[in-house]
C-alpha cells in the first residue's frame, strides 16, 4: 500500500506525517502525534469518545480518513489549559463531572461548539446537541449541570 504525506493543523500547530490516506484521523492524532485525546471508543461514530473539532465543528475522528482532515483540528488539549481554561472545562471541574472520564472529549467538545453558537441553550437544546454521545459511567446529571454552568459563565 502507499502512504502519503499529510500536514495536519492540530491545536494551532502544523504536523507532517506519512500515512495511509484511509487511516482514520484518530490513529494519526494518538499514535503519530502522541496525543492522549481523542480516545478509541467504537470506531463506528456511535459514541463520541474520539471527537475532535474540525474548523469548529465536532467530528468523529475514528471514521474520518486522515486525507479528509483538512482544516483546523482542535482536540480537548487545545480547548484550554489550567491557566486559560475554556468555560466548559471550568464547569466540568466545578461540577466534578467525570467518573472514568474516557468519554469526555465528545461531551466537552460538542458542548463547546454548542455554546459558540448558542450562549443561552435550553435544556432541550442541550439534550439535542449532545444526543448520540455515550457515557457509560452515567454522569449525565453532572454533564447537564456543567453545560448550564458553562453557558452562564459565557452568557
Amino acid at each position: 500500500m502507499t502512504t502519503k504525506r499529510f500536514t495536519l493543523n492540530v491545536n494551532g500547530r502544523d504536523h507532517t506525517i506519512d500515512a495511509d490516506p484511509d487511516m482514520p484521523l484518530l490513529y494519526a492524532l494518538r499514535n503519530e502525534l502522541g496525543l492522549r485525546n481523542p480516545k478509541f471508543g467504537c470506531g463506528l461514530a456511535q459514541c463520541g469518545a474520539c471527537t475532535v473539532q474540525l474548523d469548529g465543528t465536532p467530528i468523529r475522528s475514528c471514521v474520518t480518513p486522515v486525507a479528509a482532515a483538512v482544516g483546523k483540528i482542535k482536540t480537548l488539549e487545545g480547548l484550554g489549559t489550567p491557566e486559560a481554561p475554556h468555560p466548559i472545562q471550568t464547569a466540568y471541574i466545578e461540577e466534578q463531572v467525570p467518573q472514568c472520564g474516557y468519554c469526555i472529549n465528545g461531551w466537552m467538545l460538542t458542548a463547546a461548539a454548542l455554546l459558540e453558537r448558542n450562549r443561552k441553550p435550553t435544556d432541550a437544546e442541550i439534550k439535542e446537541a449532545l444526543a448520540g454521545l455515550k457515557c457509560r459511567c452515567a454522569t449525565h446529571m453532572g454533564i447537564m449541570r456543567a453545560v448550564r454552568r458553562a453557558a452562564a459563565m459565557m452568557g
Binding site: 500500500m1 500515512a19 495511509d20 487511516m23 482514520p24 490513529y27 494518538r30 499514535n31 502522541g34 496525543l35 492522549r36 485525546n37 480516545k39 478509541f40 471508543g41 467504537c42 470506531g43 463506528l44 456511535q46 459514541c47 469518545a49 482536540t75 480537548l76 488539549e77 484550554g80 489549559t81 489550567p82 481554561p85 472545562q89 466540568y92 471541574i93 466534578q96 463531572v97 467525570p98 467518573q99 472514568c100 472520564g101 474516557y102 468519554c103 469526555i104 466537552m108 442541550i126 439534550k127 449532545l130 444526543a131 448520540g132 454521545l133 455515550k134 457515557c135 457509560r136 459511567c137 452515567a138 454522569t139 449525565h140 446529571m141 453532572g142 454533564i143 447537564m144
Partner: protein, 760 residues
C-alpha cells in the same frame, strides 16, 4: 484474642521491650523504649512488601508528605480522595500532603482491587487502621524526641507539638525511612485483608476531614488531558495486537492464510489452538490485519437457541445447583392453609458491561521479568493470571493499574491482559492490545440472564403468612470475578485450560418479616462451556438488579392485590429499623401520599406514575421513589424524577457519595429501559452501540433528589453498587402505577411497553 497476644509478643521482641504499651497509657518514656523505637524506625532496610508490614500501607517523606499505598483503585467515584481523607484524618496531616498510589503491585499488597463496593468498606478501613497505627508510632517517636509523654502531645498538619517552640514534624521523625513495624495480619489477602496495629482510630466526633466534600484531585487532570489512561501507555519496541474471534461461538481456526496479510508491514499471526491474534508495528496495520486475515473456522453446531426462547430454555434446563439461602417457618403448611395465593414470574436478560472503551492492556517481558499495564479492576489478581499464562513466578511479574475506560465488574479487561501476555511472549516484543467494539460488547463476560418465581400466601385478613422467592438462571461466576487463573480468561479457555465454573446466584436482601419464608436459587449450565460470549460473570451489583427487580415488583403486586399502599405495606413488614428509616426518608422527601396502585384518574396519551423499591446490600440500604411518564402511543418511558434515600453508615465524602448515587441511578435506568444482549443461533448479535443501546442524555431525569442518612458511628458500607439495585423495580412499579400494566420482563423498551399496553 490469641492472635492479638501473639502479635503483641512479636512486637515486643521487635522493639526490645515492653515499655511501648506503657507509653501508650501515658507513663514516662523509658530510655530503653526510646532507643528501641529509634532503632526500629532507623533500621534502614526496607521491609518486604507484605500485608503484616506497616510500611506496606503508609510512607512518610523527608518533607513530611504522606504516601498511602492502596491495593484497590478508584473506579471513578472519588475513592482516591476518600482514602486520602481517611489517611489524613488519622495522621492529622493536611489532605494536600497525602498522595494515594493505587493498584500497583510493586508498592501495594493485594487488597482485592475494585470489588463489591468494598473500596471504603474494607480497603478504606484497612488504611484507617494503618494510618492510626502510624500516628501512634510517630507520636511515640516524637515523645522521645521532645522528651514529653505522648499523651501530652498534639498533632496538626503533621507537626507534633508539646507547646510553643517545642515541635517536631513527621518528616524529621521518620522522613524517608521505614517504620519496620509489624501489624496483626489476619492471614487473608484480597477484600478481607485486615492488618491492625494497637492504635484505635479516632472517634468520629473528632473528625476534621472525614465527612467533608473534598473535591477530587483527578478531575482537572482528566479535563485538561494531562493524565495517561491505560490506552496511552507506550513502551519502547511495543507492537499492537488485535484478536480474531469466531463467527460462530465455539468454532476454532482450522486454516489461517498468513499470505492474506503479507502486504501489511510487519504483520504477524499468533495462532495457538483456538487463540488467534495478529500483531503489527502500527495500530492501524494491526486493525487491518485482523480484518483481512483469511481464516477457515471449524464447523460447529450453532450453540444457541432462538433468542425468543431464552426464558423457556432457562425454565426447562435442569438445574446444576439448587440452594435455599434463607428459610424460616413451614412454607408448605403456610401455602396449604392460605386463603389466597399470589404468584408471578419475572425475566431479566443477559447484559453487557459495554465499557466506554474496549479493554486495553500492555505486557512487556524483559530480562526474566514481565510487566502488565491494565485498566482492569484487580491488578494484583491480573498479575497472578499473567504470571500463570507466561509460566513465570508471581514475584517476577508486576502489574500497574492505569485509569482505563470505566469498569463495572468482571469486564473484558482481564481477557485483554491475558491476550497481551500470550502475544508478547509469542512475538518477543512488548504488545499493546486494545479490543475493537465488537470484541468488547459481544465477547465481554456477561451479567447472567434469569427467571424469578415469587409466591405469597395470604390469610383471610390479607396478612402475608408465606413467601417464596426462587431465582433460576445462568451462574454469575461461570468465570471468576478476578482473572488470576488461566481458566477464567478467553486466552486460557481457547488454549484448552481445564475449566471450573462456580455455580452462584443470590437471594433478595431485605428484612420483610413474613412468618414462613424461603428464598433460594438454581443455576443452569451455559450454552457452551468454553470461551462463550455469554459466559456469566460479575456485572455491577452482580445479580442484584435482576433479583430485586423481581422481588420488589412482587412486593408491589401483593400490595396491589390487597388494595394496600405499597409503602405502608412495606413498613408493616420490614423488621430492620434502618430499613424503615430509609423507606420513610425517601417517601417523605417525595411527599408520598398513601393510596393503592395503580392510579385510575388519568386519561390521555401521557400518563404519570410513581413507584417505590428498596434493598439492602452488604450493610447499605437504599430506598428509591421513581416518577415516570409513559407515552402510551409510542411506549416510551421517561423516568423524570427519582428520590433516593441512602444509608451506608459513616459517610466519608458526601458530594462524592451523591455523584456515585446519581451514576448508579442513571446506569440503572439504562439497564432497566434499554439493555439486552441478543443473539441468534450462532453468535451474540449485540455488537455495538446500535445493537446494544444504552441510556443517553435524552433519558436524563429532571431531578435526582438524594437524602443521605449519615451514621458516623457505624462503620462505612459500600456505595458503588447499592443504589443500582432497586432502580428497575422502582421504575417497573411506577409504570404499573401509571398504566395498570405490570411489566415482568426487562428491559422496558418502547416496543415492549406498547405491546403490553395494547394487550392489557
Amino acid at each position: 484474642m490469641a492472635t492479638r497476644q501473639a502479635f503483641a509478643l512479636s512486637r515486643r521482641s521487635l522493639l526490645k521491650g515492653a515499655g511501648m504499651l506503657v507509653v501508650s497509657m501515658g507513663a514516662p518514656v523509658s530510655v530503653e523504649l526510646a532507643n528501641s523505637i529509634g532503632a526500629a524506625l532507623a533500621s534502614g532496610a526496607k521491609p518486604p512488601l507484605h500485608p503484616a508490614e506497616l510500611d506496606s500501607y503508609i510512607a512518610i517523606g523527608a518533607d513530611g508528605s504522606v504516601t498511602a499505598f492502596f491495593g484497590k483503585m478508584d473506579m471513578g467515584h472519588g475513592l482516591e480522595t476518600a482514602i486520602a481523607q481517611i489517611v489524613a484524618e488519622e495522621l492529622d496531616v493536611a489532605i494536600k500532603s497525602v498522595r494515594v498510589v493505587m493498584g500497583d503491585t510493586r508498592s501495594s499488597v493485594n487488597q482485592g482491587g475494585a470489588s463489591g463496593s468494598t473500596g471504603i468498606q474494607k480497603g478504606g478501613m484497612q488504611m484507617r487502621y494503618a494510618a492510626a497505627e502510624a500516628r501512634r508510632i510517630l507520636l511515640e517517636a516524637a515523645s522521645r524526641h521532645l522528651e514529653v509523654p505522648a499523651e501530652r502531645l498534639t498533632v496538626s498538619d503533621g507537626i507534633v507539638s508539646a507547646g510553643v517552640d517545642r515541635n517536631v514534624g513527621y518528616g524529621e521523625l521518620i522522613g524517608g525511612r521505614y517504620f519496620n513495624v509489624k501489624l496483626d495480619w489476619n492471614k487473608r489477602i484480597g477484600n478481607d485483608l485486615q492488618a491492625r496495629g494497637i492504635a484505635k482510630p479516632k472517634s468520629p466526633k473528632d473528625y476534621k476531614l472525614v465527612g467533608k466534600s473534598i473535591p477530587r484531585e483527578d478531575v482537572a487532570a482528566k479535563v485538561f488531558s494531562q493524565t495517561d489512561y491505560v490506552t496511552d501507555i507506550k513502551v519502547p519496541g511495543m507492537v499492537h495486537g488485535r484478536m480474531l474471534r469466531p463467527p460462530v461461538a465455539g468454532a476454532e481456526p482450522v486454516e489461517v492464510d498468513e499470505a492474506s496479510i503479507k502486504d501489511i508491514p510487519g504483520a504477524r499471526v499468533v495462532w495457538k489452538m483456538g487463540f488467534l491474534g495478529v500483531v503489527a508495528e502500527k495500530e492501524w496495520d494491526a486493525i487491518r490485519a485482523a480484518e483481512r486475515l483469511k481464516v477457515k473456522w471449524s464447523e460447529v453446531k450453532p450453540p444457541f437457541p432462538a433468542y425468543a426462547s431464552l426464558y423457556d430454555h432457562i425454565r426447562k434446563a435442569p438445574a446444576e445447583r439448587r440452594s435455599i439461602d434463607r428459610k424460616s417457618g413451614d412454607l408448605t403448611q403456610a401455602f396449604a392453609s392460605a386463603a389466597r395465593i399470589i404468584q408471578s414470574e419475572y425475566e431479566w436478560p443477559f447484559q453487557s458491561h459495554a465499557s466506554m472503551g474496549p479493554a486495553c492492556a500492555i505486557v512487556a517481558i524483559a530480562d526474566g521479568r514481565a510487566t502488565l499495564w491494565t485498566g482492569g479492576q484487580k491488578p494484583h489478581y491480573a498479575r497472578d493470571g499473567v504470571a500463570a499464562v507466561l509460566g513465570m513466578k508471581t514475584e517476577d511479574v508486576d502489574a500497574i493499574w492505569v485509569q482505563g475506560p470505566g469498569c463495572y465488574g468482571r469486564n473484558d479487561a482481564g481477557d485483554a491482559a491475558h491476550d497481551a501476555a500470550v502475544l508478547a511472549q509469542a512475538v518477543g516484543k512488548p504488545v499493546r492490545v486494545q479490543y475493537m467494539r465488537h470484541d468488547a460488547t459481544a465477547w465481554d463476560p456477561k451479567g447472567p440472564a434469569s427467571v424469578h418465581r415469587a409466591r405469597a400466601a395470604l390469610d383471610a385478613a390479607n396478612n402475608v403468612i408465606g413467601y417464596e422467592f426462587i431465582s433460576k438462571g445462568f451462574s454469575r461466576q461461570e468465570v471468576s470475578s478476578n482473572e488470576s487463573q488461566v481458566k477464567d480468561c478467553l486466552a486460557g479457555q481457547l488454549m484448552g485450560a481445564p475449566l471450573k465454573p462456580t455455580p452462584a446466584f443470590g437471594v433478595p436482601a431485605e428484612s420483610y418479616g413474613f412468618p414462613n419464608k424461603e428464598m433460594g436459587w438454581e443455576t443452569i449450565p451455559g450454552f457452551i462451556a468454553r470461551a462463550s460470549p455469554l459466559r456469566g460473570a460479575h456485572l455491577r451489583d452482580p445479580v442484584g438488579p435482576q433479583i430485586h427487580f423481581a422481588s420488589e415488583c412482587f412486593i408491589d403486586e401483593i400490595a396491589a392485590a390487597i388494595g394496600a399502599d405499597p409503602v405502608a405495606f412495606r413498613l408493616k413488614y420490614v423488621t430492620d429499623a434502618r430499613d424503615a428509616a430509609v423507606i420513610r426518608a425517601a417517601t417523605e422527601k417525595y411527599g408520598w401520599q398513601p393510596r393503592p396502585s395503580p392510579r385510575r384518574d388519568q386519561s390521555g396519551v401521557t400518563v404519570v406514575g410513581r413507584g417505590f423499591a428498596y434493598a439492602q446490600r452488604n450493610g447499605a440500604i437504599v430506598g428509591i421513589v421513581a416518577e415516570v411518564e409513559v407515552d402510551k402511543r409510542s411506549g416510551r418511558v421517561w423516568a423524570r424524577k427519582f428520590v433516593v434515600a441512602h444509608d451506608c453508615g459513616q459517610i466519608i465524602n458526601p458530594r462524592g457519595l451523591e455523584q456515585c448515587i446519581e451514576g448508579n441511578i442513571v446506569q440503572g435506568l439504562s439497564r432497566a429501559l434499554y439493555e439486552e444482549v441478543k443473539f441468534d443461533n450462532s453468535m451474540v448479535t449485540s455488537v455495538d452501540w446500535m445493537s446494544y443501546p444504552i441510556g443517553e442524555i435524552g433519558d436524563v431525569p429532571e431531578a435526582i433528589e438524594i437524602v443521605l442518612i449519615d451514621r458516623p458511628d457505624i462503620d462505612p458500607a459500600g456505595a458503588g453498587e447499592p443504589a443500582m439495585r432497586p432502580v428497575a423495580a422502582a421504575i417497573g412499579n411506577a409504570i404499573f402505577d401509571a398504566t395498570g400494566v405490570r411489566l415482568r420482563r426487562v428491559p422496558f423498551t418502547p416496543e415492549r411497553v406498547k405491546q403490553a399496553l395494547s394487550s392489557s
